[in-house]
Every structure is written in C-alpha cells, then in structure tokens.
Symmetry: C2
Subunit: 287 residues, 2 copies
C-alpha cells in the first residue's frame, strides 16, 4: 500500500509509558523528526486544552446548580419539603454528569501513561463509585420528597430516563469491577466486553444529559408560573436564564467529553486497537 | 510486537469492495481460514441484526409519534391552532431522529462496500438534506403556533437545545457538502475535518434525543392536567404511557445508532484509521 510495502512499521506505538501522543503512521514514515515532535506536542496541547475546557464547564455547571438550588429555590434540608428536593438537581449533576464525565476521560490524560495503570484504574473505579453514590442519594432525595407529598414516583418521561441511566450506571460499575478490576476474569472476556463498556459508558452520559435537560425544563415550568407575566418562564426571568444556562453548560460539557472519547489518537497507547497484546488489568502494566 | 515482528501484515484490509467485515489482525495471523470466515460471518450477522433493530425502533418511534398526534391530540392542520403544533413532534422525530440516525449509519452497511462510494455519499447527503428540511418545517410549525397564540418563542430549555441541534445540523450539512462532496476541497482538509464531522454528527444526535425527551415530557405536563385525578400525567393514563414509550423508543434507537458508530470493525474499509490512502470523494473510488 503506502510505499508499495505489505507491512507497516509498529515503531510509532512507542513505549506504553509515552507521555505525548504517538503520531499517525503516515507521518511517522514520511515526516522528519522535528515535524513529528511538533505534531506530538500539538496533539498534547489540544488534548489538555479540551480537558481543561471540560473541567471548567463541569465546575461552572456545579456552581450554577448550587446557586440555583441555594439562592433561587431556598436552600437545602432533608425533611420531605421542597428543600429536600433541592438536593436532587445538585447531586444528579455532581454525580451523573460532573464526576461521571471527568471519570470517563481519566485514561486519556497523557500524564497517566508513563505509569502502572492499576492506580489509575482504581481511581477510575473510585470516582465512578462516588458518582454512583451521589446519584443514588440524589434519587432518594426526590423519592422522599414525593412520598412526603403523596406524589407518585416514576411516572414522567424524565424519571424513566433518569432511573434508566442510574440503573445502567450501577450495572456498568458492577460489571466493570468484575470484568476489568478483579483478577479472575479471563483476557478473552475483557477483550470482548471492553468495547461494550466504552459504548455503554458514552450511552449512560447521553441518557444523563437527556435526563438533566428534561428535569431542568420540567422544574422551570413547575416553579415559574408567576403571579405576574414578567415572572413566568416565558418571560425568561433571571432564574430561568440561570437554569437554562445550566442546561447549556451541561450539554457543552457532554460534547467536550464525547470529543475526547472519540479521538483515537488520545487513547492510552495500550488501549488502542492496534495494540494487540492484552494483559489482565491487575498485572503490573506499563512498567 | 506480536510474534516479535516489527511490522503488521496489511493483507487483512482486503479489497475495499469486500462485503463482509475484515478480521482483527490477531485472528488473521493465528487462526485457520475456516475460523476466519466464521468470524467474518459472525460480525456481518451481528451488524445486520443491530441495523435491523435500529430500523425497527425508528419505525416504531414514527408510528408512535403519528398515533399520539393523530389519535390523542386531534390530528393535523396548518392554521396556527394546536393541530398545527401536532406537526412539530412528528416532523422532528421523522427528521432529526429517524432519517438522521439511519442516514448516519449508511456507510456501515457492508452491502455498500463493494461499490463506488459516490452514489452512497450522494444518498447520505440526500437523506440528511431531507432530514434537515423536515426538521426546519417542524420548527416552522411550532413558531407559527406560538405566533398565532402570542406565546414567546425560544424561552424554554427544550427550545434552546432543539434550535441548537437544528442549527448545528444545518452547519454540519453545509460543511459536509463543501468539504466531502464537492471536488475542490483538498485531501488534507478532508482528513482534518472527518473526525470533526463524525464527532459532531454523534453530538447532534445526542442533542436531538435530549430535545425530544424534554419536549415530550413538557407536552405531557401541559396537556395532562386532567379534570379528574385519573387523567393527570401522574396517574399514567394511556396517552402518557404511549408518549413515554415513544421517548423510550427514541432513546433505544439512539443507543443502537451509537453502538453501530462506535464499532471500528463495522467501519467501511476505506474509512478506517489503518487505511492510509485517502482519495478525494468525487473520484471513482473502490472500483
């Protein structure tokens, strides 16, 4: 094919501990070393800019949802009142969006590549467990609020999507622990389930975002009925602008996470399709 | 690496006209021919099952949204009334979900691989243009309804997400035409923008799904206030069950589309990262 050869050099894969992005093969073959280094550096810089943008958007979402609940909705309590409900958006955004999304892109950070994968795997599992716990407590907040008011649970489409996202997340975490972290799972099973884990991971984030958007939208229609026209949702009072912006920030964060996950050059070298060897994940990798 | 060699055979890429999935390289090297054929056949069968599942889910979504608008919401008109609004969910689901999602996975169908790519590229562009036109008419339906009632446009988070999805879709279509279909765009620009096109394509589908979920949820809260408790959304009357199921079908369809897009083995051979040669898309490819 290229250069009339029937094989491709694998030198571009480099050591797994490389902390900059390897080049696409074509460039490796045809470009001088200086150009290769510049291209690696460019990829690394673009990754970190995307990663920092994601961090900034997720922090801005967290600030927005806290300000909305604390400043506009009266703050927090755990007494079955509307103040208990206020934990729901804060905990779902913190767990199912912010922690989840940042946990999902952890392996893409080149800084982590020069080291044994196991601590990063444990950190990924720990971040996701914390995200799951926050989400479940966030669900308890709204169930308790509904039960105290005598409102049925799980009737709206928002609740169907949200509970599905959380249930899939719990299944994904348990399956991830059993298949990728504990040592008894065979390599063939890990290889088979890794694409499923990656696909389901992205799908859960999509569901979380859909649940957040529908939830914020629903809440604003509930609370911004207004005694005057200027206070209704349709007049876009400050609270509506803040909560709509929260939705926009969540969506923008999701798009950045998908951008990072979709770029194959930003995959950890030992996770790329062209890396054929696959070691059980409790072995000492990349040392 | 594998077998201690510093190169990988490229024979697995096969001719671009192959109509079954090429094997992963490891199997190609280590497995007998019969096993290789069985694996290719398995990949092809799993793809077509996923593709047919996606088609079935998208058709079920279309039937559901038509039944909801026609049977439960009174049918269709273009007179500024609620009957004009009824075009909105039907056209958005038909355009921004069903046609869009199926158009996105068109290149993955192995049946198309044995042929020149150009007709499939034109079909992809035509399906997407039809999807865009339906979406824009769907937006006109709701703008007309709002204007006739004196309701402001674009205040809800649902509308912000929906208009963003449609605007990004329009930009994506124009950029796709200019960069990938018309002949004057240089190869380097096509290579640079293809991952962006793929990422933005998936992101637009995520936004569409979030807009659909929030829109269905909002509409059900609007219309199912009920004169008796049994008619409210919280009591899950038949209309609520139907429309919630529509939301679930849309989400399931989206997950199948993401599954198909995420599987690298299901990419058209000349679109895979390991295929280094890149020809301008109006040239006679794969012949």
């Amino acid at each position: 094919m290229q250069q009339g050869s029937d094989c491709l050099p694998l030198s571009h894969l480099g050591p797994c501990g490389s902390e900059t992005f390897p080049l696409p093969q074509k460039h490796e073959v045809t470009s001088p070393r200086a150009s290769a280094g510049a291209s690696r550096m460019r990829q690394t810089v673009i990754f970190y800019l995307s990663f920092l943008l994601g961090l900034a958007l997720s922090l801005a979402s967290l600030v927005c949802v806290c300000v909305w609940s604390a400043r506009w909705r009266g703050g927090f309590a755990w007494d079955g009142s509307a103040l208990q409900f206020n934990w729901h958006p804060v905990l779902m955004v913190a767990g199912l969006v912010v922690l989840y999304g940042n946990g999902a892109v952890l392996y893409r950070v080149p800084l982590t590549w020069g080291q044994n994968k196991l601590p990063w795997k444990l950190l990924h599992a720990a971040l996701m467990l914390l995200a799951l716990v926050l989400s479940v407590v966030g669900l308890c907040a709204v169930f308790g609020f509904h039960n105290a008011k005598g409102t049925p649970n799980l009737y709206s489409l928002h609740s169907w999507i949200g509970i599905t996202a959380t249930a899939l997340f719990a299944m994904q975490w348990v399956a991830g622990l059993a298949v990728f972290l504990l040592p008894w799972s065979p390599t063939s099973l890990r290889k088979l389930l890794k694409p499923v884990h990656v696909w389901l991971g992205g799908s859960i984030l999509s569901l979380s975002i859909a649940a957040c958007i529908s939830g914020i939208n629903e809440k604003l229609f509930f609370v911004l009925k207004g005694s005057t026209e200027a206070q209704t949702y349709a007049a876009l009072p400050p609270e509506a602008l803040l909560a709509n912006s929260l939705g926009a920030l969540i969506v923008a964060f999701g798009l950045v996470v998908f951008l990072i996950l979709s770029n194959q050059k930003w995959q950890r070298p030992d996770s790329r399709p062209e890396e054929l060897a696959y070691t059980p994940l409790l072995q000492e990798e990349n040392e």
